[in-house]
């Protein structure tokens, strides 16, 4: 018997993965949480049937969402992750010696539990003593935090269901207020190939709040189109102005200082999406 898991990434295209077995599948308060074992990507975390992260390529997403803002900020001490219950972003954040506190704000405790049990490569960072885990609504937490974080990482699911509120202009305004004077935010902002309107709209909403707003890209095979975007909003620091020599030597598999800069060199059709 061959078992194949298929995710329809849009109404018209899907990815299909040969699957060894389903390791867990559970309805949480918010969504169906599942972990499957695949041949191509090893273990895969699914929320409502949508691939969130895989052992095979998670390093790209987590390194790029964490090290780009943390290496842009001159001295990131307090960092928050909204979503990201798998722990992969936190694992990368705590590689930075400057970080004194990393707060994970995840609404669904079942995601953390699933990751701790089946994805220890990702959740391991949660055991760092600088990490605080809050099981609560990220929107409320950010709204209640003023001048608190140096970096805020919005490591959300797709903008459907509970994550919709993480893609609004109002939310980005609260993120601005939750950040310190040199604060930086980054959000995962979907595929420019398959969701150009969304990329454009989200960029506009972030740039309505932040004086410096820049889009960058990474190759993530298990995500729709394989071309993934992140949008960075910054009060003062420009991610393009970093000096490669100053960057910390990090234990990475994708990120380098050169990759940091190259990620902001956008193909012409993507550049058009973020040009007013």
């Amino acid at each position: 018997m061959e078992l194949w898991f298929t995710e329809k990434q849009t109404d018209h295209v899907g990815i299909t993965l040969k699957t060894q077995r389903t390791l867990m599948r559970q309805e949480s308060q918010y969504q169906e949480v599942a972990v499957i074992d695949t041949k191509q990507f090893d273990r895969v975390l699914l929320l409502d049937g949508v691939i969130q992260t895989t052992i095979g390529d998670e390093f790209v997403y987590h390194e790029m969402i964490a090290h780009v803002p943390l290496n842009t900020h001159p001295n990131p001490r307090r960092v928050a992750v909204i979503g990201g219950g798998d722990g992969g972003s936190i694992r990368e954040i705590v590689k930075h010696d400057s970080v004194e506190k990393a707060v994970l704000v995840e609404i669904d405790e079942q995601v953390i539990k699933a990751s701790r049990q089946y994805l220890p490569e990702l959740s391991s960072g949660l055991d760092d003593e600088r990490v605080e885990v809050l099981i609560t609504d990220g929107i409320a937490h950010i709204q209640a935090s003023k001048n608190t974080y140096d970096v805020i990482i919005i490591d959300s699911t797709d903008p459907v269901g509970p994550a919709v509120g993480l893609f609004t202009e109002e939310f980005y305004g609260h993120v601005f207020e939750a950040l310190t004077d040199e604060g930086i935010m980054v959000a995962q902002t979907e595929s420019p190939f398959y969701e150009p309107e969304l990329v454009h709209r989200t960029f506009s909403r972030i740039s309505a709040n932040f004086p410096i707003t820049r889009l960058y890209l990474a190759h993530i095979p298990s995500y729709p189109s394989g071309m993934w975007s992140f949008t960075l909003g910054s009060k003062v620091c420009d991610p393009l102005a970093i000096d490669g020599n100053d960057l910390h030597a990090l234990d990475t598999r994708y990120y380098t200082p050169d990759v940091h800069k190259a990620a902001f060199c956008l193909p012409k059709f993507v550049q058009k999406l973020v040009t007013p």
Copy 2:
């Protein structure tokens, strides 16, 4: 009824595309040539069931395989494409005013016919008066050509069946001899994510023949993993040494001088594949 075309890109992962209809499907002397109409990528050319190019994302592949070497060479006048019967690479090549002759060497005439009928957006370049179309074996043609071409583009299928000979060290040696003194070759060299050994091996074979060998990347959603590699071999000119200001203003959707340079900034795991 919903019709879905699925390509197994490896034994363990596939892409699946909602399909409107099959426009053509024919056994040629070498392979099954088919064109299907899909919702996500518009028309798709398939050889033996493997996606070769799609109207939706072909611009990435063809711009990147053509403009990187042509903008690296100071004065490309004679250019050859081995394979590439769809005409997309030729279409980009003839955008360069310096080009006096562009030779398409395609072994399977049915591919050209299919493209002329169903993919006019790609085959249009074949009507340029500087273009010569040869229906013959690319390996033999290159072996018979000495000191002839300024740029040779190896726009091949995957290294199975007839294309195997286009991935050998011996062939790259003949390519070297077919090139003029400042000659440059580029080959499409598959996905570093799914075929790391092949990327490593092919890079080694090209660098065994060329003093300057460099790998570069592009985002191509319809290809396995979405991360595609090209390997450039050059006698004299370094693709990293280009001056962006000197580059011709080309009508492109992906390529820019900045993208040209950024494409050579390799993620750490890819860099390792091409480090001896």
